[in-house]
Symmetry: C2
Subunit: 130 residues, 2 copies
C-alpha cells in the first residue's frame, strides 16, 4: 500500500466502523483487536503479580529496617541481573527489556524500603494500598 | 536495636553465615530468604508474560505497518491508563507503579512498531529473540 492510498483516519486510531468501509484493512483491524484483548489479559496478570511482588518487598523492607540492613544489596542485584537475562533469552524476550523491568521494580522497591526505614521500620507508611 | 549495635556487615549484604553469629538477626535473614524466593518466582512469571506481551505487540506492529496505521494510538492509551489504574487499586498496588509499568511497556512497544514500519512491515528486524 503506497502512502497516497492512506487517508488521515488511518494515521491514529483503530476504528472498526471506519475500517469496514475499507475492506482491505478490516481484516487487519479484527486481528489487532484480538491481539489487544490478549495484551490486556497479560497486563491484568502482570499488574496482579506486581501487587504481590511489592507486598513481598514491603515485608523485606520491614525486616531489613528491623535488623539494620541497608535498602541496597548489590550481591542480590547481580544475581537478579544474571538470572533475569537468562530467563528472558529462554522465553524469547529481548534481555534489554528484562533488565529495564528489573531496574524499574528494584528502584521502586528500594525507595519504599528507605521510606520504611525512615519511619523506624513501620510498614504503615506504605499501607494505603494494602 | 540502636545504631551502635550495628556492625559494618549489616549495612550491605544478607549473609546467613555471618547472621548466625547474631541470633537476633538470624530469624530476619531466614524470612528475607523465603520472601526473596517468592520474589524470584514472581519475576520469572512476569518476564515470561512480558515475552508473550512483546510477541503480541510485535504482531500488532506488523499489522499496523501493513495497513498504514501510526505506531501511536492515544485513544487506546487512555483506555489502558484507566483500566490498569482500576486493576492496581483492586489488587492493592500503588496505581503509580501500574502507570510506570504501562508507560514502560507502551514506550518500548511503540519503539519496536516504528522499527517494523521503518523496515517496511518486516517483523524480521525484531526476530533475533523470536
Amino acid at each position: 500500500m503506497s502512502d497516497s492510498e492512506h487517508s488521515d483516519w488511518q494515521k491514529t486510531t483503530i476504528d472498526s466502523a471506519q475500517a469496514e468501509q475499507h475492506p482491505e484493512t478490516a481484516q487487519a483491524v479484527a486481528k489487532i483487536k484480538a491481539l489487544r484483548q490478549s495484551i490486556d489479559n497479560i497486563d491484568s496478570a502482570i499488574v496482579s503479580l506486581l501487587a504481590e511482588r511489592f507486598k513481598a518487598t514491603s515485608q523485606v523492607g520491614v525486616l531489613k529496617a528491623g535488623a539494620g540492613f541497608a535498602p541496597e544489596d548489590t550481591k542480590r542485584e547481580d544475581y537478579q541481573i544474571e538470572r533475569l537475562h537468562r530467563i528472558a533469552v529462554d522465553a524469547g524476550l529481548d534481555p534489554e527489556i528484562a533488565e529495564m523491568y528489573r531496574e524499574f521494580v528494584v528502584t521502586e522497591a528500594k525507595k519504599r524500603h528507605q521510606r520504611i526505614a525512615d519511619a523506624g521500620g513501620d510498614p504503615g507508611v506504605l499501607d494505603v494500598f494494602a
